[in-house]
């Protein structure tokens, strides 16, 4: 009798342990979505401040240059917020120990930063610039599918039927939210539309691949440290390669844009706010991968589509269209379908030897 009750106690404790990890995994993913949505407010407001407000919408090369400059300054600020985070958690030494192992570990974070930075962000801006922001938002919604497929093929991440259905419902909800706006944006006579489509594909591949690559590195390293490494490399890519190359080989005013950004307090204030959101959004993103996997983490992260509109409505007092509610219902439904998987099934994320 004593054995039966102790066995039952052990089973209950095991279930509680797995459920606790599952809850934390989904909670981190939800924080990703909330902070990603919140990021759109300062991220958009920055374009209304000098020096960015002076750049006309049709000045494509200047807008892309401005994006590169603001992304670099933004990445430096994110790095500082992450330094604060890891100092509080006592992980700064571990950051040093991880980043120096470039050949075996941190090179994956460098690749993740290339995928999530230049590839995805530039792709997204190309989609925005050559087709429109609604198309950019919709194409980004597909990144969890890319992430889940790569994670499945590369390191056998388990994607249950329920997780796949939940992911599809969330993407469908996102398409309902943004889809109707697409009709006003598509223009068959636009000769440069292919650049927009290419950009859309780049953003979905970029963010999807980033998750899969980062999760590979997090097999043997800490997620808080991993995200810090990822932004260290992003700073180097923009600051040592892309911006110097643009300054050397073009006549674009890189130095002027950098100086004008850092010397204007309003622009810097928006960058600080955006970086705070982005730093902890990405931290939550990476932490969710370790507990619930790349596919689920990215799919719940897709709820940013909902939170972005809620935050923008709260700050601009412009209510979204009626179909937002329909999209909201689908995204919430998709999240619940995913969360309804048994905690025990998520305790082992990969189809490897048991």
């Amino acid at each position: 009798m004593a054995n039966i009750s102790s066995d039952a106690g052990l089973s209950l404790a095991l279930h509680k342990h797995y459920a606790h990890n599952q809850r934390w995994g989904f909670m981190w993913a939800l924080w990703t979505a909330i902070l990603w949505g919140a990021w759109y407010v300062p991220g958009t407001a920055l374009w209304s401040e000098f020096p960015y407000s002076e750049i006309a919408v049709d000045q494509q090369s200047m807008r892309l240059t401005a994006t590169a400059v603001m992304t670099w300054i933004h990445a430096i600020t994110v790095f500082l917020f992450l330094l604060l985070w890891n100092t509080v958690l006592g992980k700064v030494k571990d950051y040093g120990r991880t980043i120096v192992r470039f050949k075996s570990i941190s090179k994956w974070y460098a690749l993740a930063s290339l995928c999530g930075g230049p590839l995805a962000i530039f792709g997204s801006y190309m989609a925005m610039g050559f087709i429109g922001p609604v198309f950019a938002a919709i194409s980004s919604l597909f990144y969890p599918v890319i992430g889940a497929i790569i994670a499945r093929l590369w390191y056998k991440e388990k994607i249950s039927k329920r997780a796949a259905i939940g992911m599809c419902i969330i993407i469908f909800g996102g398409m309902i939210i943004y889809g109707p706006g697409l009709f006003g944006e598509m223009n068959a006579s636009n000769p440069n539309a292919w650049l927009g489509y290419l950009g859309g594909i780049m953003s979905a591949i970029g963010w999807g691949t980033e998750g899969a690559v980062a999760a590979r590195a997090m097999d043997v390293s800490d997620p808080d440290v991993g995200i810090h490494c990822r932004f260290s490399f992003e700073i180097l890519f923009w600051g040592m390669l892309i911006l110097p190359a643009l300054a050397l080989f073009t006549d674009l005013p890189i130095a002027e844009l950098v100086i004008n950004t850092v010397t204007h307090s309003k622009a810097m204030l928006w960058i600080l706010l955006a970086a705070a959101c982005h730093a902890y959004c990405y931290t939550a993103f990476y932490k969710s991968f370790s507990l619930i996997g790349v596919g689920r983490g990215e799919a719940i992260g897709n709820l940013y589509a909902v939170f972005a509109l809620i935050f923008i409505a709260a700050f601009t007092l412009q209510l979204p269209e009626w179909y937002f509610v329909l999209g909201l219902i689908f995204t919430i439904l998709g999240s619940f379908v995913m969360f309804s998987e048994s905690a025990e099934s998520i305790a082992n994320l990969r189809d490897v030897d048991q």
Binding site: R97, R101, D219, D353
Partner: protein, 94 residues
């Protein structure tokens, strides 16, 4: 320079065969001269992550009395996948 903490947990397991979580965390706390419940929890989360990723396996579990509450303990062993990932990432020689 010391090894990063997840790397340390993996190499310690590969040397020892199998270990209980409290044995692993005790060794890690000693290695990094750290103390306290927060640091211990951080290491236990790292073990949960390694286990979810399939690098280590839980081969035994038990409930241990800890004051009024009981604490769940796991015994871990490196998996074949964990060995291959350690080789990939330079933590173990092929």
């Amino acid at each position: 320079m010391k090894m990063h903490q997840k790397g340390y947990l993996l190499t310690t397991l590969s040397k020892s065969g199998s270990l209980w979580d409290y044995e692993l965390t005790r060794k890690a706390l000693q290695e990094y001269s750290e103390t306290g419940a927060f640091r211990e929890k951080t290491l236990n989360i790292a073990l949960d992550e390694l286990s979810a990723a399939g690098l280590i396996h839980r081969i035994e579990e038990k409930l241990e009395a800890d004051g009024k509450q009981s604490k769940l303990r796991f015994k871990y062993k490196l998996s074949d996948f964990g060995v291959s990932r350690m080789v990939d990432t330079g933590l173990l020689l092929p």
